[in-house]
């Protein structure tokens, strides 16, 4: 237990001390929530802007921490030989992975603690059936695994600098196609069909349904995310190079 706790403490400290990470995980989502709630440029239809933006940005927050921040940090740790060095300490690999998951979840809690009050302040009222929050949390956890696996998959294959570019590029693509700011329905037909298979749209669609629409999360969201959440960690663990 001690090695795990020491690792979680160090990882959390480093994550919360990296300026560029905070910009990505907290700064940009907060700016998006405020800007797009106040400036009504998003094609949100009959929904109020804030009601659409907050669930979408919560989905973005999960993606930026689990995929981009985790992936980039892991890539550089591999490049700097940190992961190799840890291999000859008593910190076991499964503990290292557990520490990274715990750190991602802790950062997500920080994000929620910032974004939700900002949204409420702007007039967001989550639609409430009793299990909505629990459902949303469960879906976010599933998405965390899917995105985390994707980030680590890239980090294990690419050189640190290439991985940095790839993770940021993927972030932009998934942001645009993921239904986070632009509803997937607004995308051209073929693109929309493709986008619906991505973990980003599955997460944002589910959060929109449960926190925005007050309905239960569509089965499609569960299925798509569950598939990604199995595929990416398995692929990552098969292909990851520690050195």
């Amino acid at each position: 237990m001690r090695p795990l706790l020491a690792q979680v403490r160090a990882e959390t400290w480093m994550t919360l001390r990296r300026g560029e990470t905070l910009l990505l995980t907290v700064g940009i989502p907060v700016v998006f929530v405020i800007f797009f709630s106040e400036v009504h440029v998003l094609p949100t239809g009959h929904e109020s802007a804030v009601a659409f933006v907050v669930p979408g940005v919560l989905a973005l927050a999960v993606m930026s921490t689990a995929m981009v921040s985790l992936g980039i940090a892991t890539g550089f740790e591999r490049g700097y030989g940190v992961l190799k060095r840890l291999g000859s300490t008593p910190l076991r690999r499964d503990r290292l992975v557990a520490a990274k998951i715990a750190t991602v979840v802790l950062v997500e809690l920080v994000q929620a603690a910032v974004l939700i009050p900002v949204g409420l302040g702007l007039g967001w009222r989550p639609a409430g059936h009793a299990g909505a929050v629990a459902e949303a949390v469960l879906l976010a956890l599933l998405a965390t695994i899917a995105f985390g696996g994707l980030g680590v998959l890239l980090a294990g294959l690419l050189r640190a600098e290439v991985n940095l570019a790839a993770a940021n590029g993927l972030y932009l693509v998934l942001l645009l196609l993921g239904g986070m700011l632009v509803p997937v329905a607004k995308l051209p037909g073929a693109l929309a069909a493709f986008a619906r298979g991505l973990p980003a749209a599955a997460l944002s669609g589910g959060l929109h349904a449960t926190l925005g629409g007050g309905s239960t999360i569509p089965t499609e969201s569960w299925v798509v995310l569950a598939l990604w959440a199995v595929a990416t960690p398995v692929l990552a663990s098969l292909t990851f190079r520690w050195e």
């Binding site: 001690r2 090695p3 706790l5 020491a6 690792q7 403490r9 160090a10 400290w13 480093m14 001390r17 990296r18 550089f76 740790e77 700097y80 030989g81 940190v82 190799k84 060095r85 291999g87 000859s88 300490t89 008593p90 910190l91 076991r92 050195e243």
Partner: protein, 319 residues
């Protein structure tokens, strides 16, 4: 049971054989240097002992354990200093040590380690802002956190200034006194000679020679010779006449006498030099380790063209 034991180790990377039948061992309280030029297989050998690679053939044991199969039992008893990197760039020496302390059951106190490696003044500076020598010392301290029984050091003096080298010598002496086994890879002969109880000279993946520095020095010389350094361009014929021995100037004021060393010879040489107002800069009357090393490594790596100069240049230029 030796602390570190490796028998007929073979390791290949694709078609390249990096280690080709290396055997070595080191006991508790012993400092052993694996010495050789770059590409000799030093790092591959050490990393196999650390459990990073699976041998293609041969047997390795550290503290009686298989570094791969019994990795988990072994890691808390060894300390590792990689050739480079290995530390979170954001962490200061203090934070990195605090983190590593969390991994081990009975860690050294942070302050004592910072003191030991001389990082007190920069203990709060992030690793990425430290000098190369300071980064090496962080790696060294991290290798010692868990009070290891065996310490592996890969090029511990690379980029370390003279003061740091003196510090490293003191630390290694301390480890030896505590009964720790130290196995270090280096391409720096002088450091190996100063630090190690025994040396294993490797080249092209094979052990070329092993023994104490004194044994190796003797092994290399066909017979003892006398070398001295003074002003360039001395009259070698006059020296030969005065000492009764042949004299050759190798260039740059280094002279080799074709005779056995003796107290009389030393006195005569000093007298002759004094009479000719030439300073005696250096005098060596025994075979040197450097010559042994160069003959070993050179013969294995170079075309036998009979000219030792290119060998020497190449070995010094392998940093």
């Amino acid at each position: 049971m030796p602390a570190v034991e490796c028998t007929d180790l073979v390791l290949r990377y694709g078609a390249t054989t990096a280690v080709d039948g290396v055997s070595l061992q080191a006991d508790a309280g012993e400092v052993v240097a694996v010495l050789g030029p770059n590409g000799a297989g030093k790092t591959t050998t050490i990393e196999t002992l650390e459990g990073y690679r699976t041998p293609d053939a041969g047997r390795v044991r550290v503290l009686g354990l298989d570094p791969r199969a019994e990795h988990r039992a072994l890691v808390s008893r060894i300390g590792v200093m990689l050739q480079s990197g290995g530390v979170y760039p954001m962490l200061s020496p203090r934070r990195a040590l605090e983190l590593f302390r969390g991994y081990y059951p009975d860690p050294e106190p942070t302050d004592a380690l910072l003191e030991l490696v001389g990082l007190r003044a920069v203990e709060s500076t992030p690793w990425r802002h430290l000098s190369g020598g300071e980064q090496q010392r962080v790696s060294l301290a991290l290798a010692l956190v868990g009070r290891p029984e065996v310490v592996f050091l890969d090029e511990p003096t690379a980029g370390v200034d003279p003061e740091g080298r003196i510090g490293l010598r003191a630390i290694i002496s301390g480890l030896r006194e505590r009964g720790t086994c130290v196995l270090m890879a280096t391409h720096e002969l002088t450091e190996a000679e100063r630090l190690a109880d025994r040396m294993v000279v490797v080249g092209a993946g094979r052990v070329l020679a092993h023994g104490t520095p004194a044994q190796l020095a003797e092994a290399g010389g066909d017979r003892p010779s006398v070398r001295f350094t003074s002003r360039a361009g001395l009259d070698t014929a006059a020296i030969a006449a005065a000492l009764g021995a042949g004299v050759v100037e190798d260039g740059n004021g280094t002279y080799t006498l074709d005779t056995e060393p003796s107290p009389r010879l030393t006195a005569d040489l000093a007298t002759w030099l004094a009479d000719h107002d030439a300073a005696l800069v250096e005098l060596r009357t025994t075979a040197s380790l450097e010559e042994t090393y160069l003959s070993l490594v050179g013969s294995d790596n170079d075309k036998p063209d009979g000219d030792p100069a290119p060998v020497r240049r190449r070995i010094r230029g392998t940093r």
